[in-house]
């Protein structure tokens, strides 16, 4: 109930400022632009969109998700409104959930607005639409993971720049972590255990199977536990800061 109130305020605030529009437009330009240029969408005729379109999403999210989510607790702490929120009859948990859902909604809007590409592949060929849907789900989960991560970072600081830099760095590590060329190099230089640890932290493993239309329980568990961990961490940090 209060989660909904917080959610509505945050969402309104995204669209009352240029933030949401700017991020949505940048995402659309880059994701579609990369698909038709470096993705070589026309030449390789990748009707599943896996390599031409969805491949780019983690790279865009590692920059854009922190831009969406950094203000969630940074602004609250900088403006002191956290003191209002903390004395309203709203649990920390409702506030966290409401804010997270608002940021996730902004990214969902951006993602759904890429629908022309789906229409295009269906017009040009006969793609596996099931795989496209599961890719969209995977893409959204990756974005939510980065939003959760950024939210956790935003609980630590009242400085937007610090939050953005730290969050982008962590998200970049998560993208590079499981990225095939990186793991290959890493395998040459370090032990298999290290490679495994780095891959486990990365998103590709989980994203890739959804990209192929595979709904594996383990991937959903991974995304859900990572996001939950970030949100619980946020709550812990916020309470610890007040004590």
């Amino acid at each position: 109930m209060n989660t909904l109130t917080i959610f509505r305020r945050e969402l309104k605030s995204y669209f009352a400022q240029p933030t949401a529009y700017a991020i949505i437009v940048i995402f659309l330009i880059l994701s579609l632009g990369l698909t038709f240029t470096f993705g070589e969408f026309m030449r390789i005729g990748d009707a599943s969109l896996e390599y031409s379109f969805f491949f780019w999403h983690p790279w865009l999210y590692m920059l854009l998700a922190p831009a969406i989510a950094m203000r969630l607790w940074v602004d609250e702490q900088r403006n002191g409104t956290i003191e209002l929120l903390g004395t309203f009859p709203v649990s920390t948990w409702s506030a966290i959930a409401g804010k997270f859902l608002a940021a996730a909604t902004v990214s969902l809007v951006a993602l759904l607005l890429t629908f022309p590409i789906v229409i295009t592949v269906n017009y040009l060929g006969s793609p596996d639409n099931g795989a496209i849907i599961s890719s969209y789900i995977g893409s959204f989960l990756v974005c939510c993971t980065f939003i959760g991560m950024t939210m956790l970072v935003s609980a630590f600081t009242r400085d937007q720049v610090v939050c953005l830099i730290v969050a982008v760095t962590l998200c970049t590590l998560m993208v590079l972590g499981g990225y095939e060329p990186v793991t290959r190099e890493l395998a040459k230089a370090t032990s298999p255990a290290t490679v495994e640890a780095v891959t486990a932290f990365g998103i590709w493993d989980h994203f890739a199977s959804l990209n192929r239309g595979l709904f594996r329980l383990q991937d959903f568990v991974w995304f859900a536990s990572f996001i939950t961990l970030c949100l619980v961490g946020t709550s812990t940090i916020l309470s610890a800061k007040r004590a």
Binding site: M1, R8, N79, T81, L84, F88
Partner: protein
């Protein structure tokens, strides 16, 4: 009503509030006096449930703020010291959000928002964006938020800070008027305010209560019949110690 029992707060090794106890009944306005850094804001933050006390407890209308924060917080209207606001909203939008948080809806919500806007003289800026407001208006917007749900307990941290003399006068009158059927705790370091609007006052220094009584009693205790002298006496001797 507000009951505070032996409340303390440590920040690391620093003792900001030291075993403070006081009670504010319905119909009372308690002035919380003290120099900067005395622990007034810290006490209020503990009473409103923003920060947990290191020890002791606070009860709002008999409900413990630490054990049942949700219930207790519904009874409180709080104006934080810095009058924080969401800058991206309009005054009206902000108050409607606060009304939603307070579970007001329909005509009750509209009436509450209208009334708060009127009481705090915000009509002319109701549809203005908060980040364009001057300091006095920001302060009153935050005050409006505290009054919105007609709470039984009002906690105001330096409510007249940053206001011009006319606005100060209005706010003191408002506190006096509201104090008839609420329990009000407000902090200040302006001594005339105590005589103007309090039924009782405590002077706090370095986290402890050093004087307590009605304004008349405090004046009677003062060396030459002025509150300023009493304030200087109890707080400076303490700082020297």
């Amino acid at each position: 009503m507000i009951e505070v029992v032996n409340i303390s707060k440590h920040f690391g090794t620093k003792l900001a509030v030291d075993q403070l106890s006081f009670t504010v009944r319905k119909g009372e306005v308690l002035g919380f006096l003290g120099p900067n850094g005395a622990g007034k804001s810290t006490t209020m933050r503990m009473v409103t449930g923003f920060i947990p006390p290191s020890s002791g407890e606070a009860r709002i209308c008999g409900i413990s703020i630490t054990e049942n924060p949700y219930e207790a917080k519904t009874k409180i209207g709080y104006l934080p010291e810095s009058a924080p606001l969401y800058n991206d909203m309009t005054v009206m939008g902000f108050l409607k959000f606060c009304a939603d948080v307070r579970k007001l809806s329909g005509s009750a919500k509209n009436d509450a928002v209208e009334k708060a806007i009127e009481t705090c003289f915000l009509t002319s800026v109701a549809h203005q964006s908060i980040d364009t407001l001057s300091k006095g208006y920001r302060h009153r917007t935050c005050l409006a938020q505290a009054l919105l749900h007609d709470p039984e307990v009002l906690i105001l941290d330096e409510p007249t800070d940053g206001l011009d003399p006319n606005q100060k006068y209005e706010v003191r009158q408002l506190i006096k008027r509201l104090g008839k059927d609420k329990a009000i705790l407000f902090s200040t370091h302006i001594l005339e305010e105590v005589e103007a609007s309090c039924t009782r006052a405590v002077i706090v220094d370095r986290g402890k209560i050093v004087a307590d009584g009605t304004p008349a009693e405090l004046i009677a205790k003062a060396p030459n019949g002025s509150l300023t002298e009493l304030f200087r006496k109890v707080t400076t001797t303490d700082t020297a110690a």
